[in-house]
């Protein structure tokens, strides 16, 4: 059987099967989902090649599905990451109800994502896109519909995205007669100016909604933080990457080189998008800094990081696209891990409120190590993989003369240190609290995926070439020409380069020396004391005195950025909503629902018609 069909069947069939098996045994349900995902992953990595394709004609339109180098990156990412998450899910979801429902939708969204990356035409892309939206919507409302209208918000924005893709498809069909992606790429330069703008903007809106680019992001923070954490890591790690996947095709293949030439139509679209990405990065980071809930902090931080990736794609030079795709992969790994960490904390300690939690480092050491490594990668500190991506990203912006964008990127990544620290401090460091005295480390099936991904971050930081290889191939498929890469040396267009191997050698040596001195030798001489036993300028804190500094952690910073934060995008949307509502209320005066009134309207209309018929029909 065709491998593409087989993978889709295994995934969706696994979903249905785990839904059914939940009736028998709830543990079996998760296990089935895990096995199905792994099976699909194995098939993907061993059995699939560019030769696998699927062509059929439906309603007079040629549809096609195949895999190319560009979609291979995303396919590999989806399947390997979701296998790990599924393993984590088994313990994480243990004891929750409606597991069948959860796994069914989970597997369907994975299958839909695989469908999206296989699609070579817009119709199948649209169908899988909608399946993905629906299955993720059903998981967002897994914990109930009521609160804050989260699901509704997500649905509205997804609908906006879906309809704009539909419009674009209708337009394409009318204009070119086919809906193949390849045909759009070849026909695009022949379009008139308005048509180019329309197709481009419509498609970018679709993908922008999923990638949560400002101003289309308002659904994301709550949708991310309200779904179960094991799904959120897929939500933020993979579903949002589907937006990036689409944007890559639109910005690079469809707009092609015209987006780099100053003065062309698509150049402006790309640049507006790059700026939107930059603004998203800064504002979302500021919001992440002032959050008190770890889930929301990560949700905003995801939006901010995706802003970078969008910026990199929109700038569109070789280095920036490479950086964007590299960051996309690495972001999936570290943000996925962080969401899993929060999930583990939530399961073990019962809350994710950073003002309440503290000092879990001694209770959950492995989780802490995974969190620490991911945070270092998120902050972009060498020698981990995040640094490689950030470095290429900044260099590409500087070399291609986007100097104010680079400042925005620096501002948001410096401000990111604030929430990075807040996250670690809020959950793992600080004063030990009585309330969390008996918290235990998460079970092994949850710790292993996290540690594995943390290890990956390290490996990709030292040998970024492992990732450059598929990415470079993918970029060539997108039409970027020949892309240079090497295993451990990064370079920019000006001939400057850094060598990750020598960096890791120096850092590693110095760190090991200091670590042996302090951690091993010096540690023996010391004895452990509790966090109550501290320097308090002579006062002795009583047993119940609260020494935790966790509420309003960044108050001064909040004060400093207050002018920026005055208005949220939510505010404008709510006003728009209220405006629409009052407009409809106004309309309701005419449509009273009373037959008499409608009869009156008809008569009035007829009278007007008779009176002015000469003017109208002349």
């Amino acid at each position: 059987m065709n491998n593409i069909v087989l993978i889709l069947l295994i995934l969706s069939g696994g979903g249905v099967l785990s839904f059914l098996l939940n009736r028998v045994n709830s543990q079996l349900s998760g296990l089935t989902a895990f096995v199905a995902t792994v099976a699909a992953a194995v098939l993907f990595f061993t059995g699939i090649g560019t030769a696998d394709n699927l062509n059929f004609t439906l309603g007079g339109m040629q549809l096609s599905m195949e895999i190319n180098n560009y979609s291979w990156i995303f396919g590999a990412l989806i399947l390997s990451f979701s296998s790990l998450v599924m393993l984590y899910s088994i313990s994480y979801m243990k004891g929750k109800d409606r597991l069948g429902y959860f796994y069914l939708n989970f597997m369907f969204s994975i299958a839909a994502m695989m469908g999206i990356i296989f699609s070579r035409d817009f119709i199948s892309l649209f169908i899988f896109w909608e399946i993905m939206t629906w299955s993720s919507f059903l998981i967002v409302v897994y914990q109930g519909l009521s609160e804050g209208r989260v699901g509704i918000k997500y649905m509205i924005f997804s609908a906006i995205g879906g309809y704009s893709m539909l419009l674009a498809i209708v337009f394409m069909k009318a204009q070119m007669g086919t809906v193949l992606i390849a045909d759009l790429i070849s026909h695009f330069p022949t379009f008139a100016l308005q048509q180019q703008t329309m197709v481009g903007v419509l498609l970018l809106i679709t993908f922008g909604v999923k990638a949560a680019v400002m101003p289309l992001h308002v659904w994301a923070p709550r949708a991310y933080s309200d779904s179960p954490m094991s799904y959120t890591s897929v939500f933020s790690g993979l579903l949002s990457k589907m937006g990036i996947f689409g944007m890559g095709i639109v910005l690079i293949s469809v707009f092609a080189t015209s987006s780099e030439t100053f003065g062309t139509n698509t150049f402006y679209i790309s640049n507006v998008l790059a700026w939107l990405g930059g603004i998203t990065g800064v504002i979302a980071t500021f919001y992440a800094v002032i959050q008190t809930d770890a889930k929301k902090l990560l949700a905003y931080s995801s939006i901010g990081q995706l802003g970078y990736i969008v910026m990199g794609l929109a700038v569109g030079t070789k280095l920036s696209v490479m950086a964007a795709l590299f960051l996309a992969v690495v972001h999936t790994i570290f943000k996925g891990t962080l969401f899993l960490v929060v999930g583990a904390v939530e399961r073990q300690a019962g809350t994710t409120d950073m003002t309440k939690l503290g000092a879990l480092i001694r209770k959950m050491p492995w989780t802490f190590v995974a969190a620490l490594i991911s945070i270092i990668a998120l902050a972009g500190i060498p020698p981990l993989a995040g640094f490689v991506g950030k470095w290429m990203f900044y260099e590409s912006l500087i070399v291609s003369d986007h100097y104010f964008l680079v400042i925005m990127a620096f501002l948001s990544s410096t401000a990111a240190f604030l929430y990075c620290y807040r996250f670690l401090f809020g959950l793992f460091l600080g004063q030990e609290e009585k309330e969390f005295e008996n918290v235990k480390e998460a079970p092994a099936t949850m710790v292993i995926p996290m540690m594995f991904m943390a290890l990956l971050l390290f490996v990709f930081g030292v040998f970024p070439g492992l990732l450059f290889e598929p990415i470079a191939k993918g970029m060539e498929t997108l039409g970027m020409g020949n892309v240079d890469w090497s295993m451990t040396v990064l370079g920019n267009g000006w001939g400057d380069h850094i060598d990750t191997l020598s960096i890791i050698t120096v850092i590693g040596t110095v760190f090991m020396l200091a670590f042996i001195y302090l951690g091993l030798w010096n540690r023996k001489q010391t004895r452990y004391v509790t966090t109550k036993d501290i320097h308090t300028s002579g006062e002795i804190p009583t047993e119940n005195e609260n020494l935790t500094y966790a509420v309003d952690f960044y108050k001064p910073f909040e004060r400093a950025i207050a002018p920026v934060m005055k208005r949220t995008m939510d505010f404008y949307y709510n006003h728009l909503g209220e405006g629409l509502e009052s407009f409809f209320n106004f309309l309701r005066r005419f449509y009273t629902g009373n037959g008499q009134t409608y009869a009156l309207y008809v008569i009035v209309f007829l009278v007007i018609l008779i009176l002015f018929s000469k003017q109208i029909f002349l």
Binding site: F410, L429, G430, I503, Y517, T526, L547
Partner: protein
């Protein structure tokens, strides 16, 4: 490294002396900091609060030593046989991040101690960092645009071969960088994170004995690194050791002398300060760089 350590520590001693003189005291001898560090190294550390406290100072010293190794101390070939070529393998953006690593590591170490003063100090320090990093990055970006290189050796070579200093080539960027430097060295009025009288030296308050010794040495090396970085970038590097000492010392006096006579800002005032004139000069510097090249 030894040089950096010695110079850094002596500068610390000088600062104490100068501060004392300005405040009409005699002050400790300039080698006092040496004695302090030696004493601390020989002390036994009695207590700890867990693993992160061990790792914190280790991160800090890693960051300062690593950044030192990737900075060209003197012009021309590497000054030490071992690390001869390392500075060609890193560049400015790498350094920017490496320098943050230390403070983040120290912040994590301080976090585990559970001392509320440390936490407040860290919160203030990181907030302030967002403040001064903006003009500093603007200045650096202006230089990169003007010289079309992002590597430190490239910048030094540019200045040597053109026989000029970036300080004059790109004056606005220099102003922005100096103003940002005030914040980087954490002297008053920007000593918000350590604030001895409010927070009992903030993040460091739980670290004693060997931890403190390691942190002090790391701090000394680090201030030397920052000075050499600015000398390399704006003052054309240094051809020999004497020039290096003269240049760095002159630079160092700017934040020190400004600090001695200043009271302390509140955190948000400090952030707003950096986002005011320094950022303005930085933006002017970038625009200038674009037009000049």
């Amino acid at each position: 490294m030894l040089l950096a350590f010695v110079v850094g520590v002596f500068y610390g001693g000088f600062v104490r002396k100068i501060t004392a003189r300005v405040q009409n005291r005699v002050g400790p001898p300039v080698y006092q900091n040496f004695l302090d560090i030696l004493k601390l190294y020989s002390k036994k550390t009695a207590i700890n609060h867990g693993w992160m406290q061990h790792l914190g100072p280790a991160f800090a010293i890693t960051a300062s030593v690593t950044s030192l190794m990737f900075i060209p101390i003197l012009n021309g070939t590497g000054w030490c046989v071992w690390f001869e070529n390392l500075n060609f393998k890193g560049d400015l953006i790498f350094l920017l991040y490496m320098m943050v690593f230390g403070s983040l590591g120290m912040a994590l170490g301080a976090g585990q101690t559970g001392n509320p003063n440390s936490a407040i100090g860290v919160s203030r320090g990181l907030s302030q960092m967002v403040g001064y990093e903006i003009p500093w990055v603007l200045a650096i970006v202006a230089l990169m645009l003007q010289t079309k290189t992002t590597s430190l050796t490239g910048l030094v070579d540019f200045q040597v071969s053109n026989g000029t200093w970036m300080m004059f080539e790109s004056p606005f960027a220099f102003i922005a960088a100096v103003l940002a430097m005030l914040g980087m060295f954490h002297y008053a009025p920007f000593d918000v994170p350590f604030a001895p009288s409010e927070l009992s030296s903030g993040p460091a308050s739980e670290f004693g004995g060997k931890y403190l010794a390691l942190m002090m040495s790391s701090g000394s090396i680090f201030s030397f690194v920052k000075l050499v970085l600015i000398v390399d970038v704006f003052l054309g590097g240094a051809a020999n050791l004497i020039m290096l000492v003269v240049k760095t010392f002159t630079l160092y006096m700017i934040p020190v002398l400004y600090g001695i006579v200043s009271p302390r800002y509140r955190t948000e005032q400090s952030i707003r300060y950096f986002w005011g004139w320094p950022t303005f000069f930085g933006i002017v510097g970038v625009i200038y760089a674009v037009f000049v090249r």
